[in-house]
Amino acid sequence: MSAVTAAAPRAVRGAPARRGVTLARVLAAEWTKLTSLRSTAWLAFGTVAATAATAYGLGLFVRAEDGRSGTGVVTSGSVLAQVGFLVLGVLVGTAEHSTGTARTTFTAVPRRLPVLAGQALVTAAAALGTAGAALGASVLATSGVRSSVPLALDLHDPGTVRALAGFLLLHTGVALLGVGLGSLLRRPADALVTGMLLVVVLDPLLATNPGRVTDTLRALLPGAGGRLVQDDAALAALDAATHGPQLGTWGGGVVLAGWVVVALAAAAYRLRRHDL
């Protein structure tokens, strides 16, 4: 420890005019933070594997007379996949607060909001990439059943392309909702339980008891985002069966986006106005 005497001679006294914090710099820092944790890579890998395995497993039960579509089989892992994306977002949103890193991060970026924006953007990028990988893996995992039944996956069909793009949008949206809830609630357990309730638990529970009130609630919960991956026939069937509002093609996605915006805005408000 003797070599530590001095920093190289520095002529600084006080702060000279150096460019400080910019959004691009915060973004780079948040990307480093996300990619420097082993848990991120394991989570992404686990999500892709679980999604593809679920799609493969459910594919085993598909029979020709079910009247399912190719996209339905490919995206059937998305119920479970949403959990992985939610956890990704929640971990990003709560990490600062649950580990004390907030002290370091927010003394470097005292305006605070660029950090939240950076977290949302890097999470969206990571989620989009992971969702792309999960989709690719699901397409491969279900190729056997799709050729034997057979079920078409026609990329010239607008409905098919919309459902596959919806898979990417749904999971990116769920991850962003996780960031918002995590940053707002600050404790992983709270944010996770809330998120899982909103996204994956309440919807099937409400579905067991169809009625005007429960169907309206289902249409207003972020779980409605699950409609993004349904093909056109399934959406029509859902809209025909509901006693609540009919959400049409994009309605479910809009509801999910609304929840994302509200959660992130509430998180921004708490971050700005309250002590850390």
Binding site: M1, A8, V21, A29, S36, T99, T105, T107, L276
Partner: protein, 312 residues
Amino acid sequence: MIEVEALTKRYGRTTAVDGLTFAARPGTVTGFLGPNGAGKSTTMRVVVGLERPTSGRATVDGLPYAELAAPLHAVGVMLDARSVHPGRSAYRHLRALAQTHGIGRARVREVLELTGLESAAGRRAGTFSLGMGQRLGIAGALLGDPGTLILDEPVNGLDPDGVLWIRRLVRELAAEGRTVLLSSHLMHELALCADRVVIIGRGRLLADASVAEIVARSERAGTVRVRTSEPEPLLRALLERGAHVTPQEPGVLQVRGATVGDVGAAARRCGVTVLELSTEAGSLEDAYLRLTADAVEYRTSDAAGAPAGGAR
């Protein structure tokens, strides 16, 4: 330059900081002292914008912290060694911090080397000892080569080498014209490296002066200690001269209001043998305990009656 003006911070009904005013100036090491719960950490957290003051203000180089364009270049902060994600390596932690200000990789390696962490740079911070975590915190504070440093308990958990290193480091930083605000519980450590001391208790300012001035307020400062085989006659002689004498352990007298020469002369006149004769220097610890005697929130029960007892 850190200026704190009439700063008050309340949490519900608890007042953590109560109308505190002080300044830490360039080129000096300012020690920040107070019992547990006195409001030191709260004050530091308000200065760096993590918490909002209830009233009053705190500025760095004349600006509220949140308005600094490049906070890392203006202020280096180490509040708690556990301010790192345990799953992230030391290098990546510093790299992410550096990226917020466009600071390059070379500077990250430089501070790792400076804090003696280069061999541990790839290890996850969760595996670090308290001392290594402390060094990582200091590396983060030095990253932006700032003009002001705020260090909360920097020697906490460091080995003797590390303590010596911190002492030299803060002296050098101040010698380069930087402002250093440093809190510690270790009095002798602060006495060695601080120029000025700000002492607070229950959120209020108790003293703000140079170390020498504070030490001079010590109860023992300037008293004479004399050991003799026959204390009785000497005690009487000194009392006749108007000195203030307190018998201490057998054969030892503590004399106030007389010089070493006076005591020596008195001993010669009454014919007793002097075994030991000296002026007490006083200490920062003594002065501190005296100042904060009423302001201690958590105290072991048996120390209550004898605030200076630990010094002997």
